[in-house]
């Protein structure tokens, strides 16, 4: 378990992380979301022992990061923001270096390198210098060095940034497969990623936690949650008015000529009523679906300061 209590970080007068507390249990994949400069990376840097907090405590599986950093760092695999690596080394030698620094040698080191190389598919570039690698390979090398010692805790700062859609998919698969009994903390500003890999989402802005809950709970906060999008070939007379008058319908928005978005009251399901109304107005339905919620909507709502502290 990672336990963070009253953690703050100041850079001179600037408060990057403002008195946050949370716990993460094994098996959880926690996604840090937030606009740039929200304090995600700073929090991760403190979790990994790179920066020392201005105030507060971090305990990593029982090891205090301030007093027992080495023991805590042995348990953590970390991909720093931008996946830095020694550009003048080859992929093979840089993995050897990380492995040796983590105390492996001989056959075990070779076996571990072979394992991670297969896992993140680096075999084609093993002998290449890192400065000649593409961004995708560098990111995967960063992942490889993070998982080389099979850590119980994995902290990944924007692991899919700069990857193409196939590589993104691959990295997400990797995270999902790793996650069984580990603690995984991922930061991202790609919202789809949260629903794709995370079991828990945390929105940070101005160094504070604005939301902490499951991705579904996050989506449920959207105005679009359970909203119905309806497209017909030709909108019948009076349909829009009838739907607008249904109970639990807050408003109907007409997007294009023949497309309606129907918003329900918070938490209400209006599909049945809408369906009945539709049958009373004969028309050709081309599209009808219930929205799960738009994350970018919630994200904007929460992070532009309109929302109060609303931890779920």
């Amino acid at each position: 378990m990672i336990k963070v209590s009253n953690l703050s970080k100041y850079f001179d007068d600037f408060c990057a992380v403002d008195n946050i507390s949370f716990q993460v249990e094994p098996g959880e994949v926690l996604g840090f979301l937030g606009p740039n400069g929200a304090g995600k990376s700073t929090t991760m840097k403190m979790l990994t022992g790179f920066l020392s907090p201005s105030a507060g405590d971090i305990s990593v599986l029982g090891h205090d990061m301030q007093t027992d950093a080495l023991a805590a760092q042995r348990l953590i695999g970390y991909l720093p923001e931008g996946a830095p690596s020694y550009s003048d080394m080859t992929v093979q030698s840089s993995l050897e270096f990380i492995g040796q620094a983590r105390g492996f040698s001989g056959r075990e080191l070779g076996q571990r390198i072979a394992d991670v190389v297969a896992r993140v598919e680096l075999d084609s570039v093993l002998g290449k210098r890192i400065e000649n690698l593409s961004k995708g390979f560098r990111r995967r090398l960063g992942l490889a060095q993070a998982i080389l010692h099979d850590p119980r805790i994995l902290i990944l700062d924007e692991p899919t940034d700069g990857l193409d859609p196939n590589q993104k998919h691959q990295v997400r698969e990797l995270i999902r497969n790793l996650a069984q009994d580990k603690i995984v903390i991922v930061s991202t500003h790609i919202l789809e990623e949260v629903s794709a890999v995370c079991s828990r989402a945390m929105i940070l802005a101005h160094g504070k936690i604005l939301f902490d809950g499951t991705p579904d709970e996050l989506a449920a906060r959207s105005e679009y949650h359970n909203a119905i999008t309806l497209r017909v070939d030709k909108l019948p007379e009076g349909l829009e008015q009838s739907i607008a008058q249904l109970p639990h319908v807050t408003r109907v928005q007409r997007a294009e000529q023949d497309q309606l978005t129907i918003f329900p009251e918070q938490g209400q399901n209006i599909l049945a009523e809408v369906n009945r109304t539709l049958q009373a107005h004969p028309c050709q339905i081309e599209e009808l679906h219930v929205e799960v919620g738009r994350l970018d909507d919630v994200f904007r709502l929460l992070t532009t300061g309109k929302a109060e502290d609303v931890s779920a």
Binding site: K45, G49, L51, L70, E81, P84, M89, G103, R129
Partner: protein
Amino acid sequence: MNAVNVILKRELASYFATPVAYIFIIIFLMLAGVFTFYLGQFFERGQADLSAFFGFIPWLFIVLVPAVAMRLWSEERRSGTIELLMTLPITTFQVVIGKFLAAWFFVGLALALTFPLWVTVNYLGEPDNGVILAGYLGSWFMSGGFLAIGSCLSATTKNQIVAFILTLVVCFVLVVAGFPIVQDVFSGWAPLWLVDGVSNISFLAHFNAISRGVIDLRDLVYFSVLIAAFLYATALVIDMKKAD
């Protein structure tokens, strides 16, 4: 100790991963040759010793050693690999020492490659090889002092050029502190202990003593303390400044 070793190996390998190391060694050897034979008038002096070589070593080091030291930390900070390094289960001191030793061994290798000078002087006459060995030892210790200062200054900046210039200036001041030109500035008015103090911090005073073949424990202690102090300062600077 294993961790220091791992860092040391990586650093040494990275010197030779690019042409920089080879260029450095070649320039060092060429300049050493030029200084010894032309400026030092090795042949004209008609003496079987290497004092012509060791007399120029401090000046050679002022320019070349900061060039080795400048990348020690600046490059890590600029490329962000410092974050990778400092989140491994290794202490700051282990990294500082590993990096310093790699640079020190590298300069040691460059020094060792001046062995043709030693061969030459032994071919031409019968030098006191003990004095020559002391000269090499003194040179190596002095380069350690330069490197420790360079390591500390390199930790303060992301810019290698800034690190180079800062180190060069500090090393220059430390070398010339024992010269009459600096001594004269103080001797007119300052109390004797200050004049002595200034001349005592000079690299040159301690180096010259060793390179004359007088291995006084105090001179070795001087360089050792200097190295230890600046490596300690390096670790402090790293912990303070690694965030920016």
